[in-house]
């Protein structure tokens, strides 16, 4: 019996690398420390691969995950300062591109959850655009419930999975 296997990532990688921007030359001044609770944001579980970069460091800029409430796509108050920090950084570094990866928890239908994840990535995209980031710097993708950050069928896992990951690209 023959097994047909296809993993054509080389093509995709080449396409994404084409025309990739140079790295920013200077680090922006760190944004002012916010006293806001940022428990809704962290960067655990963020993975990088050959098309992704570490991106900027800093108290807020190192936070790359924005969490959402059930069935909601609006950015919570506890995440506003993080989104604002990325907006400021991206505005000052117009060559830097990011991919906004939207996710949903596992409940409900898969393709509808793709829609919910997209709504969340669009919500972050709009916030970044409103704060001066250029459209060409932003790409969105929704993985719906297909790439959970946490496994399990409980509220804790659901909350960890309703998120947008801000992925800095090379």
């Amino acid at each position: 019996m023959k097994y047909l296997v296809s993993t054509v990532f080389v093509l995709a990688t080449a396409a994404l690398l084409a025309g990739c921007p140079s790295k920013p030359e200077e680090q922006p001044a760190p944004p002012p420390q916010s006293t806001a609770d940022t428990s809704g944001v962290d960067n655990s579980g963020v993975t990088t691969d050959s098309t992704e970069s570490q991106g900027p460091s800093g108290e807020l800029l190192s936070k790359r995950i924005v969490y959402f409430d059930l069935d909601r796509a609006d950015i919570r108050a506890d995440s506003q300062s993080v989104v604002a920090a990325h907006a400021a950084y991206l505005s000052k570094n117009p060559g830097q591109k990011v991919r906004l990866e939207g996710h949903a928890d596992e409940r409900g239908s898969r393709e509808y959850n793709i829609g919910l994840g997209e709504r969340r990535s669009q919500s972050v995209r709009r916030a970044l655009l409103l704060q001066g980031v250029a459209e060409v710097q932003l790409a969105t993708v929704s993985y719906g419930e297909e790439r959970p950050a946490a496994q399990g069928s409980d509220e804790q896992a659901y909350a960890a999975n309703r998120r947008v990951e801000i992925v800095y690209l090379k």
Partner: protein, 432 residues
């Protein structure tokens, strides 16, 4: 765009150890009064039959429907292979209603003929005598066809044992997961990997002729829709537009795909893609999420999920009509992922039922909804081509498993993977 029509030749790796999940079938619920039948071991064709026990496959198929109870072989006092040799009174005394007997014979060209007779021992009449000639490599499929014929003769409903299912298998822990698209016989046997990726594969959909699968793959990091010929493995990327490319569904004539696209602004709407001309037609235009479209069997319209009312519900649109899509689901706060029965009379949907996600059957004419499945997180319903059963995905101890349930709710069986989880089952059409 020419890029979208790029043909990607797939590498055939030759013989490999199957590294994917094997499904194990368990009957979880049957009818209270199943029909007793003795499927006597068939006369073999040695060595052409390769040791495949055709009668055992037939018996297992019939039992898997939940409507039959097979007589244990150890209880058989005689093992006739022709109807003339059946001890009708003896089998009747052992409380059988039917006896099936058969003979295999090898042809000269690698073919095997299966000759089957079915006798009603209550009346003493031979009710079926039929031959099937199959390639020896296809003997298992021949056995399923025998079961189909016996099932239809006794129940009046065409059997769907000689059909296939496709499903997605996932192993590993996030974020390092491996996704495989698998095609197997309806009983889970003979799994064959169609595609493997370390990025998600989702939403497989059969073409009406059973030759092709459409699916979504994230192998390019973003979603794209592909169509792939199951037999040859040849495939084609048909939509890799900006934003979401999702939820493919074939038109009954196989010439078009309904798709969900979002564009860069993230508004999911349903589109129609002509596979021959690449022409794209927008079918819905609403700021809400419109997705999960599926054609009606006559191809004149589509059912889809939309949350334009504030939460997901099922809508129907008619092709070529300027009328707004009509809402068809009204029971409960969440109805999604519609699939239509082959006769167009029933919808299988994912519904939120008392806090649990379950599969329900909605009668198209009356709108009445009845919950069918009993899990907490069931999803992805798909009708068998005879309309008698629904296959769906559920969760057991945190793992995705497959389940089939008769639409009257009386019988169910479970298909567990021996490793990893399985999801998104889709039942293929009758094969010619």
């Amino acid at each position: 765009m020419k890029k979208l029509a790029t043909f990607l030749a797939l590498a055939a790796l030759g013989v490999a150890t199957p590294a994917f999940a094997q499904l194990k079938l368990t009957i979880t619920q049957g009818v209270t009064d199943p029909i007793p039948i003795a499927v006597v071991p068939f006369a073999r064709a040695v060595p052409a039959d390769g040791g495949i026990d055709v009668a055992a496959i037939v018996q297992r198929d019939l039992e898997s429907s939940g409507r039959f109870k097979g007589m244990p072989r150890t209880d058989m006092l005689s093992k006739p292979t022709t109807s003339a040799d059946i001890d009708v009174a003896g089998f009747k005394q052992q409380r059988n209603d039917y006896v099936a007997v058969g003979r295999l014979s090898a042809g000269g060209n690698g073919d095997i003929t299966i000759d089957v007779e079915l006798v009603n021992v209550l009346t003493g009449q031979r009710v079926l005598g039929q031959k099937w000639t199959v390639n020896a490599g296809n003997l298992r499929n021949g056995a399923h066809r025998v079961a189909d014929a016996i099932y239809e003769k006794i129940t009046g409903v065409r059997g769907a044992f000689a059909t296939r299912i496709a499903y997605v298998s996932v192993d590993g822990r996030p974020p390092a997961q491996r996704y495989q698209l698998i095609v197997a016989d309806a009983d889970g046997e003979g799994p064959r990997m169609i595609l493997q990726s370390d990025r998600p594969i989702m939403s497989p959909a059969w073409s009406a002729d059973g030759d092709w699968l459409a699916y979504v793959s994230f192998e390019r990091r973003v979603s794209a829709v592909y169509v792939q010929q199951v037999r040859s493995g040849q495939r084609r990327m048909v939509s890799a537009r900006a934003g979401i490319n999702g939820s493919p569904s074939w038109s009954p004539d196989g010439k078009k795909l309904a798709l969900t696209l979002s564009g860069t602004n993230g508004n999911l709407d349903v589109y129609l893609l002509d596979l021959g001309t690449q022409a794209l037609t927008r079918l819905t235009d609403d700021p809400s999420i419109d997705t999960e479209a599926v054609f009606t069997p006559d191809g004149t319209g589509l059912y889809f999920t939309s949350d334009r009312s504030g939460n997901p519900q099922i809508y129907k649109l008619t092709l070529g009509s300027s009328e707004r899509p009509r809402r068809v689901s009204f029971t409960g706060a969440y109805n999604a992922r519609p699939r239509i029965s082959p006769d167009g009379k029933k919808l299988a949907v994912l519904t939120l039922d008392d806090g649990a996600y379950r599969i329900a059957i909605q009668d198209v004419a009356s709108g009445a909804l009845g919950v069918l499945s009993k899990g907490r997180q069931d999803e992805s319903p798909s009708f068998a081509p005879n309309g008698d059963m629904v296959i769906l995905a559920g969760r057991e101890r945190g793992q995705g498993v497959l389940q089939t349930i008769s639409i009257d709710g009386q019988t169910s069986l479970r298909l567990n993977a021996d490793a990893g989880e399985v999801r998104e089952p889709v039942w293929g059409p009758f094969l010619p």
